[in-house]
Amino acid sequence: MQYIQAIIFIAVTLVTFYFFFKKGKEIYNNIQLGRSADIQNKGGLKSMILLALGQKKMFQNMIPAVLHLCIYVAFVITQIELIEIFLDGFTGSHRMFFHAVQGSMAGEGMYNFVISFIEVLSVLALIATVIFLVRRNLLRVPRFVMPEMNGWPKMDGNIILYWEIFLVFCIFLMNGADAALYPGKYGFLISDNIIAPMLSGFSEGTLHFMERFGWWGHILGVLAFLNYIPYSKHLHIMLAFPNAYYLEETPAGKVENMPNITNEIKAMFDPNFTPAPVSEEAANEKFGAKDATDLTWKNLLDAYSCTECGRCTDACPANQTGKLLSPRKIMMDTRDRIEEIGEGIKKEGKEFKDEKALLGDYISEEEVKACTSCNACVQECPVSINPLNIILQLRRYMILEEAKSPEEWNVMFNNIENNMAPWQFSPMDRDKWKEELEEAE
C-alpha cells in the first residue's frame, strides 16, 4: 500500500511540475516578446526585500494589509510542513521529521512548536480568507465590483479564496485525525486540544481514512493550485519579486526618453550631426506602442504581476469622476493581449498576425486620453506596477503615428511651436509681468 501511494505521489508530482514549468516557460517567452527596457536605476534586492518580501506598500491601507499578511505568513511558514509532506510522499513514510526527532525532548518540542505555529497561522489565514470573501461578495468594496471585474476576474478572486479554505481544512483534518489516532503522541496546539476531541467518536478505520484524505487533499490541492496560479491573478505571489527587483527608481515624474527622436532633431538643428549608431531593433521601432509587443518586457512583467486589487483604479482621479479610464484595466488588457499573441505564436509560429491590437481593440483612445499623469496609480501599487508608462506609450502612438490628437491638443501643439507657449500669446509679451511689477513698486 505504501509503495503504491509513493508511486502515485511521484507520478502526480512529476506531471504537475511538468505542466507548471511548461506554462511558466510560455509566460517567460511572452514577456520576452516585449522590446528591451532601458532600466537605468533598478531597485534591486533592496526593493525586492522591502516591497515583495516585506510588503511595505501594502501598509498604506492598514486593514487589508494585516489580513493579507496573515495569509502571506501562513503560506510561507506552511512550506515547512509541505517539505515534510513531499518527503513523506516520495519515500512512503509518515511524518518523517517527527520520527527523526522522536525520543528527544528538545526535538519533539521543536516539531510540536513548528506544527502548532503553522496551525495558529492557518487559523488566522482562515479568518482573513473569510473576511476577504465577505469584502468581495457581501460588502462589495467598490474596487472589487468595477466593470472590468465582471466574469472571470471576479470568479478567479473567489476560486483562490475557496481553495485556501479547502487547503486549511485538509491540514486540520490530517493533523486532527492523526492526533485522535495517537493520543499523547504529538502536542499540536489546535489539533490535539480542539479537533481530536471532536473526532473521538470515529472508529480507527475512519480516522485513518480522514488522515489520508487530509494528507492527499492537501497535497493534491497544492499541486493543482500550483498549476492554476499561472493562469490566474494569483501569479503575483511569484512575480512580485522580480517585478520589485526591476523597479525603476528614478523620480516618478520622469517620462522615458525616445533617443531615436533626439537623433532626428539634433540632425535637424545641426546638419553635421552624425547620430550614434542605433541597434536594428531601435531603428525599426515604431513611435510609441500600438500593440502589447511594442511595450517593454518590463511593462509585460508588470501585467503578469498584477493581482487586480484595484488600488490604482480606486486612486485614479479620472476613474473617480466617472471617466472610462481604469489603470487596472490597462494592466489586465495588456496581459490578456500578450497571452493572446503568445497563443497565436504557439499555433502559427513567429509570423503570427491577427487583425487586433492592444490600442483600439482592448484599450480605447478615450481611456488613453483621460489620464492626468498624476502618478496616483503608480504610488498605490503594492508591487510597483506602472500603468502610466503604458498609457504614455499608447498616447505616443496615437499622436506620432496616427496623428489622432484631440483638436484642442493640436491647437496647443501649434501654439508651442509658433508662440513658444501652449497658449496663443506673443513671445514678445513673455516678460510683461515685469513691467507690471515695476509699476506697482
Binding site: 533626439t262 486612486a315 473617480q320 469622476t321 471617466k323 483621460a370 502618478n375 499622436i399 507657449a421
Partner: protein
C-alpha cells in the same frame, strides 16, 4: 539675462518663469510675488525673458515627443549659452521637466522649486517672518501638486512654509501621497475632460470645502486655475493662494 550678460555679470540664480507665470493673469501674480521675495532677500537673479520657451511638458505628456524634444534642445542651448547653473521655478511641471528630463538630453542644472527655496530662505533667516501676520491662526490647507509630491517626493517644504506663517494647518482627507490631482496634469489643462460624472476639480472642491479651511495654499499655477475655478463654481469664499503669495502678504513685501 541678455542684459546681465552684456554687463558682464553672472547671476547666482535663474528664475524660470514658465508659460503660465508669464501669460496667465492669475499666475503672473505668483511670478511677481516670487520676484518680490527674491528682491527682498537681495538675491541676484535673472530671467530669460523673451528667450524663454515652453519646456515641452504638455507636449510630452500628450504624446508629442517630437515637439517636446524640439523645445527641450532649444531651451538647453539657450541655458548653456548663458552658462546657467542654478534654476528656480514656481511651476512644478517646469521643475520636473528641467530637473528630471533635461539631463538625458544634455541639460544639467541644479533645479529647485520655489517652495524649497522659500523654506531654505526662512530657515536661513533671510526671510524674516513677521510676528502675528495676517495668517496667524487661520485655517489653511495645502493642496499637493502631483508633480511636486508623488512625482518628486516634495511634501514637506510647502507645509514647513505654512507652519512658519503660524497658520493652523489642516489637511484635506486626501493629501500627500494620496493627494487628489486637480485635473490639469498630463496636458489635460489644454482640453476638455472625457465624458464622466464630474470634472476632477469639482471632486477636489468637495475636499477643499470639507476641510473648512479659509485659505487653500497651492504651489502650482495649473492647480491654481483648477482649484479657483472649482471653488468659484460653488460660490465659495475660500481663497486659493500660492505659497509665494502667502509669504508676500504676511510680510507685506
Amino acid at each position: 539675462m541678455a542684459e546681465m550678460m552684456a554687463a558682464g555679470k553672472q547671476p547666482e540664480l535663474l528664475f524660470w518663469v514658465g508659460c503660465a507665470g508669464s501669460f496667465d493673469d492669475r499666475a503672473k501674480k505668483i511670478t511677481r510675488s516670487l520676484a518680490k521675495i527674491l528682491h527682498a532677500c537681495e538675491i541676484e537673479f535673472a530671467i530669460l525673458g523673451q528667450e524663454e520657451a515652453c519646456t515641452g511638458d504638455p507636449a510630452r505628456r500628450a504624446g508629442n515627443e517630437y515637439l517636446f524634444q524640439m523645445m527641450a534642445l532649444q531651451n538647453i542651448a539657450t541655458l548653456d549659452n548663458y552658462g546657467i547653473k542654478k534654476i528656480v521655478t514656481a511651476c512644478p511641471h517646469c521643475f520636473n521637466t528641467l530637473k528630471n528630463e533635461y539631463p538625458e538630453l544634455g541639460g544639467n542644472y541644479e533645479v529647485i522649486h520655489h517652495t524649497r527655496l522659500i523654506q531654505d530662505l526662512i530657515l536661513e533667516g533671510r526671510i524674516k517672518m513677521k510676528e502675528g501676520g495676517s495668517f496667524k491662526g487661520k485655517k489653511i490647507t495645502y493642496h499637493d501638486s502631483c508633480y511636486l509630491g508623488r512625482a518628486n517626493g516634495i511634501y514637506e517644504a510647502p507645509r514647513a512654509v505654512l507652519e512658519a506663517l503660524d497658520a493652523d494647518l489642516v489637511e484635506m482627507k486626501r493629501c500627500k501621497t494620496k493627494g487628489l490631482c486637480c485635473g490639469a496634469g498630463g496636458a489635460q489643462m489644454f482640453k476638455e475632460e472625457e465624458k464622466g460624472s464630474l470634472r476632477i476639480n469639482q471632486e477636489r472642491t468637495k475636499d477643499m470645502i470639507e476641510s473648512k479651511a479659509e485659505v487653500v495654499a497651492a504651489a502650482c499655477p495649473f492647480c491654481m486655475t483648477m482649484l479657483s475655478d472649482g471653488l468659484k463654481e460653488k460660490e465659495s469664499n475660500v481663497k486659493v493662494l500660492d505659497i509665494a503669495e502667502l509669504i508676500v502678504q504676511q510680510n507685506e513685501l
